[in-house]
């Protein structure tokens, strides 16, 4: 710019950066982008919403409360915290063919697994098989750290309060109770089963638990959780893993089993069934409820009407909004040249 070149020693560098002239994209909310954009988003959302709703409608869910409130309820006699064990039998009828694979959940409500002190009350080192933490569990487990000065394994509130109702399902075929097999394998996260929780390398497993005691509420020690399958014991017991993955909200359900075995792999036929519940877990004291759920899934998981409806609503709003914007735009046209 300057014709003569005297002393420019202090002259700032002439780069796009220092002169704030970096090439830049300068987006602007012009009508040409925003209105079609809204229409597009709206239509896409409506499309997705319809797809989700249709998918969700196709999913079948059957759920039953078995807390045992009310005299008429078959589990009422178990709801009283009387000496256990108590078994209650729940008869029910499914009016439709519940297409397989069917998943069986138990659900709890008003149960605060997400309470801060509850959710930290475990010892991850111990649960990953570290024997040192068998002898001295971490302080986070308090008050379920020790029992009579003996370390509790697995320690902490979560483990201690593990859900211990058990279920057996029978189909009533011509007045005979035909058992429907539950498959309790593979119901936990892969990483939980393979990485996060590990038993100590000691064989047999029970030796690792010498000098420790079982959690106070547990009827059996950890290495005897599944008497049928020796591999499903200790910290990698599937039901234990499911329980240890704490829920985000106070009303939650957890996977108990799949119904995989023939002849029910294709689904549960319509008919009457009987659920035999070993009722061990008290919830009435804090106003909680218990339920069981039968459900099948689609590509998007279980039944979820909310998502589809939300998509439809938002999509419609977007389209409406775009119409409003179009009217406004036409009426108060942005001042343009010429």
């Amino acid at each position: 710019m300057a014709k003569q070149a005297p002393d420019f020693a202090n002259r700032p560098d002439n780069t796009a950066f220092t002169q704030q002239r970096l090439p830049a994209w300068q987006p602007m909310l012009s009508a040409g982008i925003v209105i079609p954009g809204f229409v597009l988003i709206g239509l896409a959302f409506i499309g997705i919403g319809v797809a989700l709703l249709v998918t969700s409608q196709s999913i079948q869910v059957f759920e039953m409360d078995y807390t045992g409130v009310g005299n008429n309820h078959p589990c009422f006699h178990c709801s009283d915290p009387k000496p256990k064990p108590c078994v209650c039998k729940l008869n029910f009828t499914i009016d439709f063919f519940l297409k397989g694979p069917v998943f069986f959940y138990y659900g709890l409500s008003n149960y605060f697994q997400n309470y801060r002190k509850y959710s930290v009350s475990k010892d991850d080192d111990q649960l990953s098989g570290n024997l040192k933490n068998f002898e001295s569990p971490s302080d986070t487990c308090s008050p379920y750290q020790r029992d009579n000065n003996k370390p509790i394994v697995p320690c902490g509130s979560i483990a201690n309060s593990m859900f211990n109702d058990t279920f057996k399902l029978y189909q009533n075929v011509n007045a005979t109770m035909k058992p429907v097999n539950f498959d309790g394998k593979g119901i936990a996260w892969w990483t939980d089963y393979n990485i996060k929780y590990r038993n100590p390398d000691t064989t047999p497993l029970r030796n690792a638990f010498n000098n420790t005691v079982k959690p106070i509420f547990w009827p059996v020690p950890a290495y005897e959780l599944d008497p049928k399958d020796p591999a499903n014991n200790g910290f990698i017991n599937q039901n234990f893993l499911v329980w240890m993955r704490t829920a985000a909200l106070p009303d939650f359900r957890k996977l108990y089993a799949r119904i995989n075995d023939p002849p029910y792999a294709e689904g549960l036929p319509a008919g009457s069934y009987m659920l035999e519940i070993q009722y061990n877990y008290p919830v009435l004291a804090f106003g909680g409820t218990k339920k069981v759920v039968f459900s099948n899934v689609s590509w998007m998981g279980g039944k979820n009407d909310f998502l589809g409806i939300a998509y439809l609503v938002i999509g419609t709003l977007c389209v409406l909004m775009s119409i409003v914007m179009l009217i406004v735009y036409a009426k108060f046209k942005f001042p343009e040249e010429d």
């Binding site: 830049a24 012009s30 997400n114 309060s161 985000a248 998981g301 108060f332 040249e337």
Partner: protein
């Protein structure tokens, strides 16, 4: 490392120093000459620096949080969520402090280890500076730095003179002369000096550079010591072979070090607002904590107590009230991220970036003086975008401070209006070739030998304090205290009266080729009160004469009565000169008889030696002799206007900035400069002049001015019915209410002089003055003192909630620069004191428009956008915990993973918003200069205020509601496709966090208006880093190493593979963003801001013209917009006749000159300054002389 000790000693009453007597002096424990500006050493760095940093409220607050987190019952977050950001912030600051201090150590060491020659036991020894003690005698050589504050004892030069340069001390580059007391000068060599045992008693150390008061006691005699005898540390010895000095003040006691105090810390209005908001947020935080604690109490009582079989209460926390109390603190910890520690750091980083952009701006680089603009403080940038009042000095700021001898009046005859420049070389070989004069009659008159003319130039060659340097024969260089004086002496030189050299007692000149030496009997020096200087000389023939030059007001009063007629003629000339904007001086002489001189000399000596009231006595003595003088004539010096000043002022006033000029010049000069730089224009309906000498008359004039303004406004607003009635009702009570004054839309100007200003600044007049002056578009205060300048600034600061900017170049502007919100120093001719006191400095007034309209505007915009987004993102982030509290028994459970909480502010969301805060632009720089109206949002503080703050936190809270309840509603029943429920805590945490990061990233993408590569990298990089860091933290590898730290193993993979999760995130994002998008679109459509319009047009044009046309832009549209925003209302209301001719002319010319645009577009590098249209302002120094219209009439009326 230096070994200075810094023990404080008791307060010093007076200082006693005995030469060559270390033992005696050591009794007083004076500071040694070792200086230590560094704050730390290796051992003390950590504790001292940490202590300093924890004095910041923010840091202490986070330390407090950290302590809370260490209490296990309370700790709702791991300790590292606080300590990592805190450590990061502390260490960044510590590293910065450490580097700063390292350089201070280095420079201290270098200075302390300088060598100086000290006289010890009669021998000269080399000593390091730091080992010099008070009372030592030091030998200095030419071009050496003075090591401490010395009393000059003797010098190699005659009469004990020595010359120093004080650039490092006060920035003035001219040489100054110092003289030793005559008795000590006789000591001459070092043997005598070694036995010198005089004792100096003087004032304790202070920071007054121009004053020293002490007494030397030696051989039972007393000698008065003044600043004239002192050599201060930091000066450089010049033109003096050697000299000896006695150390009086050393090291930290020297005036240089006493002056390097910390400067007053200025805060911006955004800073203050931010602090208020942070306090409010704390209040909000406490409220949330209380709500949740109450919730916790209720929950524990109703539910928790029953849930105890599964979750027993802690033995120490056995009741719900105590639990609620703990829960409160837990929530304080969790929710503290509403005020993240990174806020303050980010603000500093952004400001630093903006400062660098100012320093780097090539268009604020002055190639003539090789100076780039400099942001000397990094904390005020955004306030540059909010300036409403500019207070400007005139000389050196609006003008170049290059003085040229332009006209003169000798014995009633005026000279200086010829056609061609004179050629002096044939007449005078010693002439300065750069000097121009345009009247050959004056040269003729000199050649003819006109006695008055000769006397005139003789006076100019004798009556001054210029130092000359003659490198080789005839090659004279003058070093003058002020450029005026230099111009006068140079004029005399060219007209044949050449000042050659001076000694303390003589002045040697060459008069018409003949060398003459005058005996200099006395210099009656200049000061601001006297406003004149005189010399008394004895010519070779023995005649004694007093030559005096000074301001006409003081000089004309002291003339001999018989001079009345000449005085009238000369007065007329002076008025003419002043009307041309020239600086004038009157010259006079007085012949003295030997008796008169003797008598006066005695009284002078008496006054000079007086110990008390010396200065008053001297002034009285001067006054006594400067009487009955004969008028010789007057000189007129042109003060050249700086380049681009009128254009800059025009643009700034279009940007609604009010410009006040505060000058020490006379009224006429100031008014004329006002006209030539377009502050005052012919279109102004009236220029009010306030020049009353009493409180009463000033009040009268101010009132009358106001009434007149209302009257004129009324006639202009005539069309509007309500206006008339309104005025009628309100006109009766004087003084009119200020809101009425606010409505005055006319372009009035006010000129007030120093006397009247003094009255106007009195307590009861303040409001009256402010309301009148602020209704004017331009205000000129003339004849003001430096103190008054500061008072005016303070006045506006007090009465108007407006941002003020003071710009000046000289030492007299320092007070004004310091008291304004923003001080700008012009690094020009008058030293660097103004620059040192300033916040920004550059070398040309015209850069001010770029500083304000481009850098200031951008800084403000960026800072506001940054703050809005920053508060938004933290509310969106934090409030999710609040909603979750209602679902987790108010247990202070976090929604997110701890690592996410730690990294959210410092990694995942910090850089995109920083990039926006540093690089964002809404319109390019040329546009903001073309449409000065774009500056208005800053002045009105529209972009970030309490309202905007509430809008952005409301948006943040809305986002948090969506981010919590949408995943909550979707996930509570959802399952993976393998049937496992998705409602587990970790999946929920990952989903919410991912949705949050995506929402805030989309939001920053919407907010960013200027996507450079860096923005792209940061936005995409932040998203990328979120996913990669999360996957890493949830990976098996890390878990296997630290099983106890990474509970979330596998959650990311498991969660992010679920389509439902992504559908949830998409849904949440849409719900958060769509309303914002729609709102913004409608706002742009229904209520477009000027910047939207400019930006839109720019983009449309870019598309039309393709890439090439993008930068140059079409000028044609400039008309359309300025028309719409700036003037539309004026035109429709029929006021367009009053429009500034400049603005109209330039816009009109733009409209019609399409070919110019075409031409300009061909030169893409050409950068235009806006309205430089048809008005002939090409020449920078060209003063446009316009007769002031209503000025005189009104001015006379009032008198």
């Amino acid at each position: 490392a230096s070994q200075c000790c810094r023990n404080r000693k008791p307060h010093e009453e007076e200082r006693r120093v005995r030469a060559n007597d270390r033992e005696y002096n050591e009794k007083f424990q004076y500071a040694s000459n070792c200086i230590m500006t560094s704050k730390y050493n290796i051992v003390t760095f950590l504790p001292v620096n940490l202590f300093e940093q924890f004095q910041e409220v923010a840091n202490t607050y986070f330390l407090f949080l950290l302590i809370l987190q260490l209490i296990p019952q309370i700790s709702s977050l791991s300790w590292f969520t606080t300590i990592v950001p805190l450590a990061l912030v502390l260490s960044i600051t510590a590293v910065k402090d450490a580097t700063d201090d390292y350089f201070r150590h280095k420079s201290d060491n270098q200075v302390n280890n300088r060598q100086s020659q000290v006289l010890i036991r009669g021998l000269l020894q080399n000593e390091k500076w730091m080992n010099v003690r008070v009372g030592d005698i030091i030998k200095l050589e030419n071009k050496q730095f003075v090591a401490a504050d010395l009393l000059l004892l003797s010098s190699s030069e005659p009469h004990g003179l020595c010359y120093i340069e004080t650039a490092e001390l006060d920035g003035e580059t001219n040489m100054k002369v110092r003289q030793s007391v005559s008795v000590t000068n006789e000591l001459a060599d070092q043997n005598n000096l070694a036995s010198f045992d005089g004792e100096v008693v003087c004032e304790p150390p202070n920071n007054k550079l121009d004053r020293f008061c002490g007494t030397l006691y030696w051989r039972d005699k007393k000698y008065t010591l003044t600043n004239q005898n002192m050599l201060l540390r930091g000066c450089v010895l010049r033109n003096t072979e050697t000299c000896y000095g006695l150390v009086i003040f050393a090291g930290p006691d020297t005036k240089l070090m006493q002056n390097s105090g910390s400067t007053k810390f200025k805060r911006t209005s955004i800073d203050r607002l931010m602090n208020t908001l942070v306090l409010w947020i704390f209040g909000f935080l406490v409220c949330m904590g209380v709500i949740l604690a109450v919730g916790n109490a209720v929950w524990e009582r109703e539910v928790g107590s029953l849930f105890q079989s599964y979750l027993p209460w802690d033995p120490s926390v056995d009741n719900f009230l105590f639990s609620a109390f703990l829960s409160f603190w837990s929530y304080v910890i969790i929710l503290n991220t509403v005020v993240p520690i990174s806020l303050y750091v980010s603000v500093e980083v952004i400001r630093l970036g903006h400062s660098y952009f100012i320093n780097w701006d090539q268009e604020m680089f002055c190639s003539q003086c090789n100076t780039a603009a400099e942001a000397r403080t990094t904390t005020l940038n955004e306030e540059l975008g909010q300036v409403e009042y500019i207070f400007s000095d005139k000389t050196g700021t609006l003008t170049q401070n290059i003085m040229t001898f332009n006209k003169c009046s000798i014995n009633g005859q005026t000279y200086g209006e010829g056609p061609d420049p004179l050629d002096f070389t044939p007449f005078n070989p010693l002439a300065d070739p750069d000097f121009c004069f345009y009247d050959d009659t004056l040269l003729e008159s000199v050649k003819v030998g006109d006695a008055h003319t000769h006397k005139f130039f003789r006076l100019l060659s004798l009556c001054h304090t210029v130092m000359s340097e003659e490198k080789s024969e005839g090659e004279l260089v003058y070093k003058a205290q002020s450029p005026d004086e230099g111009a006068l002496v140079t004029a005399a030189r060219n007209f044949g009266f050449v000042f050659r050299s001076r000694t303390p007692g003589t002045i040697t000149t060459t008069e018409m080729g003949r060398p003459v030496t005058y005996t200099l009997l006395a210099i009656l020096d200049f000061n601001n009160i006297r406003k004149r200087m005189s010399v008394i000389v004895r010519d070779p023939e023995g005649r004694i004469c007093l030559y005096c030059k000074g301001a006409d007001t003081v000089l004309l009063e002291r003339l001999h009565p018989c001079e009345q007629e000449l005085m009238n003629v000369t007065s007329d000339h002076l008025h003419e000169y002043a009307a041309d904007g020239l600086r004038t001086l009157a010259l006079a002489y007085r012949d003295l008889s030997e008796d008169e001189w003797e008598a006066w000399s005695e009284s002078y000596c008496c006054a000079d030696k007086a110990t008390s009231c010396r200065e008053d006595r001297l002034a009285a003595a001067y006054e006594h002799i400067e009487q009955d003088m004969m008028l010789l004539g007057a000189t007129a010096i042109e003060d050249k206007l700086q380049e681009g000043v009128p254009e800059t002022i025009a643009v700034l006033s279009l940007a609604n900035i009010k410009i006040w000029v505060l000058t020490g010049d006379k009224q006429e000069t100031a008014v004329n400069i006002g006209y030539s730089c377009k502050m005052l224009t012919d279109d102004m309906p009236e220029v009010f002049i306030i020049s009353g000498n009493t409180v009463h008359s000033v009040r009268q004039e101010l009132r009358r001015a106001r009434e007149r303004m209302i009257e004129l406004s009324r006639t202009r607003e005539g069309g509007k019915e309500e206006g008339i009635e309104g005025w009628k009702q309100l006109q009766c009570p004087p003084p009119p209410p200020s809101n009425l004054m606010d409505n005055i839309s006319g372009e009035f100007a006010l000129v007030i002089n120093g006397h009247s200003l003094a009255h106007a600044l009195e307590a009861d007049m303040e409001t009256e003055f402010v309301s009148t002056a602020c209704a004017c578009k331009a205000v000129i205060c003339c004849r003001v003192t430096p103190l008054q300048k500061a008072q005016v600034v303070e006045l506006i600061k007090k009465h108007k909630k407006a941002v003020t900017l003071a710009i000046g170049d000289g030492a007299n502007d320092v007070s004004m620069i310091k008291s304004a919100h923003i001080g700008v120093g012009i690094s020009g001719q008058e030293g660097i004191q103004a620059v040192l006191a300033s916040d920004y400095s550059f070398s040309q007034f015209r850069f001010l428009q770029r500083l304000l309209l481009v850098h200031g505007r951008w800084s403000y915009l960026r800072m506001c956008r940054f703050l809005c987004y920053f508060f938004y993102k933290n509310f969106a982030f934090t409030m999710v915990h609040f909603w979750f509290g209602f679902f987790c028994g108010f247990s202070a459970q976090t929604v997110y993973d701890q690592y996410f909480i730690t990294l959210y502010n410092i990694v995942y969301t910090s850089l995109p918003v920083l990039a926006m805060g540093i690089f964002d632009q809404d319109v390019p720089d040329q546009r903001s200069l073309e449409y000065p109206k774009l500056y208005e949002p800053g002045q009105l503080n529209l972009l970030f205020n309490k309202r905007e703050f509430f809008i952005c936190i409301a948006q943040g809270i809305y986002t948090s509601v969506v981010l919590f309840f949408v995943p909550c509603a979707v996930l509570s029943d959802a399952t993976q496709s393998t049937g496992e429920p998705l409602a587990d805590y970790q999946t929920f945490a990952v989903t919410t966090a991912t949705a949050l990061v995506i929402v805030v990233s989309v939001q920053i993408a919407l907010d960013t208006g200027f996507w450079t590569v860096i923005n792209h990298v940061f936005v995409w990089g932040s998203l990328g880093s979120y996913f990669s860091i999360m996957l890493a933290l949830h990976s098996q590898t890390l878990f296997l190493i630290f099983p106890n730290q990474f509970h979330f193993v596998g959650s990311a993979q498991s969660t992010l593979l679920q389509p439902v999760v992504w559908l949830t995130i998409a849904l949440a994002t849409t719900i958060c963003i769509v309303p914002v998008l729609a709102f913004r679109f409608l706002k742009v459509d229904l209520k477009p801001q000027l910047s939207d319009t400019v930006r839109y047009t720019q983009l449309v044009r870019q598309k039309k013209h393709g890439r090439l046309g993008a930068r140059g832009g079409s000028r044609r549209s400039g008309y359309a917009f300025a028309h719409q925003e700036g003037f539309g209302e004026l035109i429709t209301s029929g006021k367009n006749m009053r429009l500034s001719s400049l603005a109209l002319a330039s816009f009109a010319s733009r409209h019609s000159s399409g070919w110019i645009d075409t031409l300009r577009r061909k030169k893409p590098t050409h950068v235009q300054t806006p309205p430089r249209g048809s008005v002939p302002l090409e020449g920078s120094g060209c003063c446009i002389q316009q007769p002031p219209p209503a000025l005189c009439s009104y001015g006379n009326q009032t008198e």
